[in-house]
Symmetry: C2
Subunit: 202 residues, 2 copies
DNA sequence: GTCTATAATTCGATAGAC
DNA sequence: GTCTATCGAATTATAGAC
């Protein structure tokens, strides 16, 4: 969301204020439109022209700012996804907490749908998806599960359930899964995740 | 796959139910190549030209046989995916049975990976995925779950876990999930699916 | 900074010779 | 049935005027 301000070529000669560029509004509009299009259509079908049209600017501006289509996608999904620190959660509640935060993240952030959709057909997208779950889910598993050596497998199981929920609810939009209330999902999936993390190996 | 013997009995005139054509081998080669490409690249990036090259025939043949790209995809994934009849399975073992058969299906059939990948970015693919879900998973849920009215929700939960496994294992290829042995997966996911189907609402 | 015009590819689809 | 040649449309990307 936040384009960090860099330089201010138009904000006068006094260097005291590294003010926002005049184009920051445009850049932000482009990124927002890009996230929407990538989330809705995937990488291939989301055209630069359509994104530019949504942002109500000229397609060539997208190229000027982000170089090429890959650069645009990278910029659009470069937002840091921070799963709240769950290390403080009670050990027998980590499953429910994880599902709750996961749901909140996906409902408020189109970026994740975009990444999942792109990850299904694009190598770069899949790798970025792997990164995120290594950085976000593995630490949780390392702390929650009894044998640290099993943490990757446990995290993989949790990922299968959480991403499966995201897939059926936000991408494929299976009606019954879409219809579920958040609390229902937490009530059903919480114990599953809890078990994947903390139960002894079956 | 099946290069069925192509004899000369071309029953020609009846367009609705043609016998074995001389071109059957070619058609089969096209479909096999199409499945591989769709599974590997998704709908948009799997080009007719590339598929034809894999099948070592001319791209125009694909058009001649299947009309257009959509027709090709439909033909490539039109195999009936038959989940074995689980109505005979013991009621407290339906979870494990379902996971076991699901795994077997995905490991031996590229078609399913193709459909999942396409479903992530293509409307038609997503709808076909929904169809299969309705025809295959819903009946199982209807029979296994205590309250038939809850069958769709239960089936949706099962789908989230099973398709999440397929996504992380066969599409995104998360290393820890790929590394799991089939028996481990059954041991972990079986109880989950069992609970989604038969446990009382939480 | 913004836009017009267009280059350079690539793809789906068609026409027609053999 | 098979292939060559090509059309027409869409795309990314570039060059340059204002």
């Amino acid at each position: 969301m936040n384009d960090s301000a860099s330089n201010g070529t138009d904000s006068g000669t006094d260097g005291t204020s590294p003010g926002p560029r005049r184009s920051d509004a445009t850049r932000a509009a482009i990124l927002e439109a890009a996230r929407e299009r990538f989330a809705a259509d995937g990488y291939e079908r989301a055209t630069i022209r359509a994104i530019a049209k949504d942002a109500r600017i000229d397609p060539s501006m997208v190229m000027r700012y982000y170089g090429n289509k890959e650069g645009l996608f990278a910029a659009a999904v470069s937002y840091d996804l921070k799963l709240p620190d769950l290390t403080s959660a009670a050990r027998d509640e980590v499953g429910r907490a994880l599902v709750t935060h996961f749901l909140a993240m996906w409902e408020e952030n189109e970026e994740l749908t975009a990444m999942l959709r792109v990850g299904a057909t694009n190598q770069g997208g899949a790798e970025r998806m792997q990164e995120i779950f290594r950085e976000q889910l593995l630490p949780v598993a390392r702390q929650a599960c009894p044998d640290p050596e099993q943490a990757p497998a446990r995290a993989g199981l949790v990922a299968s359930q959480l991403l499966g929920l995201a897939l059926t609810r936000y991408v494929l939009r299976f009606p019954p899964t879409v219809a579920l209330a958040r609390e229902e999902i937490v009530a059903w999936l919480g114990p599953t995740v809890q078990r994947y993390l903390t139960a002894p190996s079956p």
